[in-house]
């Protein structure tokens, strides 16, 4: 075994351990002050908690924290993998799923469910309409960019920004007509949070997210070709339009499924692939699975941090990722500009 292969194996072993450690931390720390980490840990192991009612601790750990942690693992993996694929596909290091109107469309669907009262008829209307909104927005971006000529990376990004802005405006209009008693709930969703999510949400999201990630892994060679530029991809025999459509479809499933259950969590799709690229390099066969593992662990750890920092408020995880993401984005922007000038 060569040294570089051994190093890669160690790296992937560490990355694979990250979601597991994060999941354990997410299940054990933070949350209600009355459940001590030791009691929560005993409940995770299936042992009887010592300090307060065992039923209560089991319910909190397995019915409240566990689905939340699983959803965040799925969402983190989906956002990070989609971001890595999109940055390659659009040849833009600053690309992220939210730039394609996915978050805006999902927000529109979710807020419509809350404002119309459908959310109370059946809570699953929120993720279902959010998922539909994300898919419609992404289709609209692709269709509009197509009608303007060939859907080039630039056209796709600009159209994504426009569709995202339109969605935001429509969300604002709906918020103005929403009763004040609903506003807290809607804002909690718009900030990106997994609070109150159940195993029902996990069942809803698991299939599209895993299918989307799997499709992206299948398309790894195409993604590598697209990352080198359209001319290179065409030279390598890739049908660029069809390849982009395939990747977009996979991103719609993965990121759309994720955003529908945890809301628009910002910056994971931008930050994680960049951090991972520095460790494993750019080949999609390494970058995509590594991003999935790191993204999953990162999002759960951010959520655990949010719960520890603000026990009585339950800060949405989207706030933590945004706080971490803005400085990261600025550094990245600075580096990108410097390398462009040097080139």
């Amino acid at each position: 075994m060569t040294a570089s292969r051994r190093r890669r194996l160690v790296l992937f072993g560490a990355l694979a351990g990250m979601p597991l450690v994060a999941a354990l931390v997410g299940m054990v720390v933070g949350g209600a002050a009355t459940v001590s980490p030791l009691d929560a840990f005993r409940a995770v192991l299936g042992l009887e908690p010592r300090s307060i009612a065992p039923d209560l601790v089991h319910a909190i750990v397995w019915q409240i924290r566990a689905p939340r942690v699983v959803l965040l693992l799925l969402a983190g993996a989906a956002f990070a993998t989609s971001g890595a694929a999109l940055q390659a596909c659009l040849e833009n290091p600053l690309a992220a799923p939210s730039l394609l109107g996915l978050s805006g469309g999902a927000s529109l669907g979710a807020v419509a469910a809350y404002v119309s009262g459908l959310a109370l008829v059946q809570m699953m209307f929120v993720p279902v309409l959010a998922f539909v909104g994300a898919l419609v927005a992404l289709c609209a971006v692709y269709a509009i960019a197509w009608t303007a000529g060939r859907p080039t990376p630039g056209a796709l990004l600009l159209t994504g920004v426009a569709v995202g802005s339109l969605s935001s405006s429509l969300v604002s209009v709906m918020l103005l007509s929403a009763g004040s008693h609903r506003i807290h709930e809607i804002f909690a969703w718009l900030l990106g949070s997994a609070e109150g999510r159940s195993w029902q949400h996990v069942r809803l999201a698991v299939l599209p997210v895993l299918a989307g990630i799997a499709l992206l892994l299948v398309a790894r060679r195409v993604i590598d070709a697209l990352a080198l530029g359209e001319e290179h991809a065409i030279g390598a025999g890739v049908d660029v339009l069809r390849a982009r459509l395939f990747v977009f479809g996979a991103i719609a499933l993965a990121a759309g499924g994720a955003v529908s259950v945890v809301g628009p969590v910002a910056f994971v799709g931008l930050m994680v692939p960049h951090a991972v690229r520095g460790l494993v390099g750019s080949p999609a066969r390494l970058l995509l699975p590594a991003s999935a593992l790191a993204g999953a662990g990162f999002l759960v750890l951010c959520d655990a941090l949010a719960r520890v920092v603000s026990r009585s408020v339950d800060m949405p995880v989207g706030v933590v990722t945004a706080l971490a993401g803005v400085p990261f984005f600025l550094v990245l922007l600075h580096r990108t500009r410097r390398s462009t000038m040097e080139a």
């Binding site: 909190i60 807290h184 709930e185």
Partner: protein, 296 residues
């Protein structure tokens, strides 16, 4: 030659006479006749104190099924206006009644045009409610009516307290929950729970005001009774299905859940007593049905 002292005395007499005459001629303060309310709290308070003919506009929330206690009270010719300067001024009001949560810039713009603005105080307790009713009564020139409303409020409070006084069990710990938000100390809901003979469980979490609290903390709190504030037409089962962690509480498992429209929970007017009556009957099923005194 004129004596300067005499001249000064004449001048002083003239000044005094002019002042007295001016004072005699100035009209008595006129009670406002075109009052505009830009919040639901104002709409409900005006409905208690003023004849509809003196109300020029109310907020759009006056007609809201979920939150308003004055739905159907104001005819269509009383305009519904949101808190925006031009539509409010378009009604030519001589007094604007606003709430503490109305936009400060909007209120400042109204004041700059010379229209007086009264901002309702933040009301959480019965004393604050009484004080606001008296203040508004003076401002609107309906002191006698305000006294009647306060007296009726006091009779209703006394009736409610007397009804729950014989209850011997320790007061149940009640947790209010409405769209992820719980009401802690210093809220009208806290007053409502106290009137109904319960204690507000959210106080144990150190919550003050209306706050979004982690569902996990609410489950760990394990209240005796859940007080849900949700729109009409929504059932307890739907709420518990929408917020699965709530279904894990002992209150939900043992069926001690009270569903109440938000209009009775969030109101800062004597309508709160009706909410307290309903909650008291639900908390203490052994006591006789409570009749709140009506009339002036």
């Amino acid at each position: 030659m004129c004596d300067p002292r005499r001249m000064l005395a004449v001048f002083a007499a003239l000044m005094l006479g002019t002042g007295v005459a001016a004072a005699a001629a100035s009209p008595a303060p006129v009670a406002p006749s075109r009052v505009c309310s830009v919040s639901l709290a104002g709409d409900e308070l005006l409905a208690l104190l003023l004849p509809v003919g003196r109300v020029a506009c109310v907020s759009p929330w006056a007609d809201d099924e979920a939150t308003s206690n004055v739905r159907g009270r104001y005819p269509k010719d009383v305009l519904r206006v949101a808190a925006h300067v031009e539509p409010v001024l378009g009604r030519r009001p001589d007094l604007v009644i606003a709430a503490p949560w109305n936009n400060g810039e909007f209120l400042e713009q109204i004041r700059r045009t010379g229209v007086p603005v009264h901002v309702i105080r933040s009301i959480a307790s019965l004393d604050e409610m009484r004080a606001e009713l008296r203040d508004l009564g003076r401002l609107l020139g309906v002191e006698a009516r305000a006294r009647e409303v306060v007296a009726r409020l006091d009779r209703q409070v006394a009736a409610l307290r007397a009804a729950v006084a014989p209850v011997r069990e320790p007061p149940p710990r009640v947790l209010s929950f409405s769209h992820l938000v719980v009401a802690g100390d210093d809220t009208s809901v806290d007053t409502l729970i106290d009137l109904a003979g319960g204690v507000n469980a959210a106080r144990e979490l150190g919550i003050s005001g209306h706050r979004k609290a982690p569902l996990e903390a609410l489950v760990a709190l394990d209240p005796d009774v859940l007080l849900l504030g949700f729109e009409p037409g929504v059932s307890v089962e739907q709420v518990l299905a929408a917020y699965p962690p709530l279904a894990m509480t002992r209150a939900a498992r043992e069926g001690r859940v009270v569903l109440m429209p938000p209009r009775l929970l969030t109101t800062v007017t004597p309508h709160l007593l009706e909410g307290a009556r309903r909650l008291a009957e639900a908390l203490h099923p052994d006591i006789a049905p409570i009749a709140l005194p009506e009339g002036p």
